[in-house]
Amino acid sequence: MASPTQPGRPTPELLAALRQGKATLRHERHTLSLPEKVRAVIELQQACLPLLARQRGLRPWERVWDTDA
């Protein structure tokens, strides 16, 4: 798709707010409990493994963990 003729640009303040939002999210993730962190890892595995499988064969250990964490 062609770009809009003159796409609006984000202001420096908005870009700073987006960066700060990312830092806030990262900080919150750091303070999760261990079971919550493990759940986050499993969610990442669920999202990534189908894509990895399309690029190459999955290795035996590359599967979503079967855990109730």
Binding site: S3, P4, P7, R9, E13, L15, L18, G21, L25
Partner: protein
């Protein structure tokens, strides 16, 4: 449908509804489409918003549209089906080109536009984006079988980027 697929389908809905003029998945989750996965907490989406006069000062229209569908904003992210999604308006001509040239791919039956690896590297090499972590990711992308080194050279030359 997994949470990630729902989040991608929501991007397509937003484009169809005119909330976004166009989008392409960027950042660490875009890497996953081209190379090995890397740890990340959120889904970065490069976007063009419908043309408005003047600079973009907030993403409230995007957040309001999603909130009306039950996805709430927090810390400049919107939690869509459990995936924190951050919308990044294209900030310069390189970002525009990354959007224009994005690849149409598929994730579990959901079509999705993804920034091509050469543009992911170029965006990582912009002065305001350079970090050790991103340089490492750029190197990993460059090792991918589908990576077009000539294309990256051309982009770096035109946008005055260096390693």
């Amino acid at each position: 449908m997994t949470g990630f697929a729902i989040a991608l389908a929501t991007l397509n809905e937003m484009k169809a509804a005119g909330v976004l003029s166009d989008y392409a998945v960027g950042g660490a989750m875009a890497l996953v489409f081209w190379t090995e996965p890397v740890p990340t907490y959120d889904l970065d989406v490069l976007v063009w918003l419908p043309t408005r006069e003047g600079p973009i000062v907030s993403l409230s229209e995007v957040y309001d549209w999603l909130a009306a569908r039950g996805w709430a904003a927090h810390a400049e992210h919107v939690l869509v089906a459990g995936i924190p999604v951050q919308f990044l308006p294209a900030h310069d001509a390189l970002a525009d080109e990354a959007l224009t040239t994005a690849a149409m791919l598929d994730y579990s039956g959901v079509p999705v536009r993804v920034v091509r690896p050469e543009y992911l590297v170029a965006l990582y090499l912009e002065p305001q984006a350079r970090t050790a972590k991103r340089r490492e990711r750029a190197a990993a992308l460059g090792e991918g079988a589908l990576f077009d080194h000539q294309r990256l050279q051309d982009i770096m030359l035109r946008f005055h980027l260096t390693w």
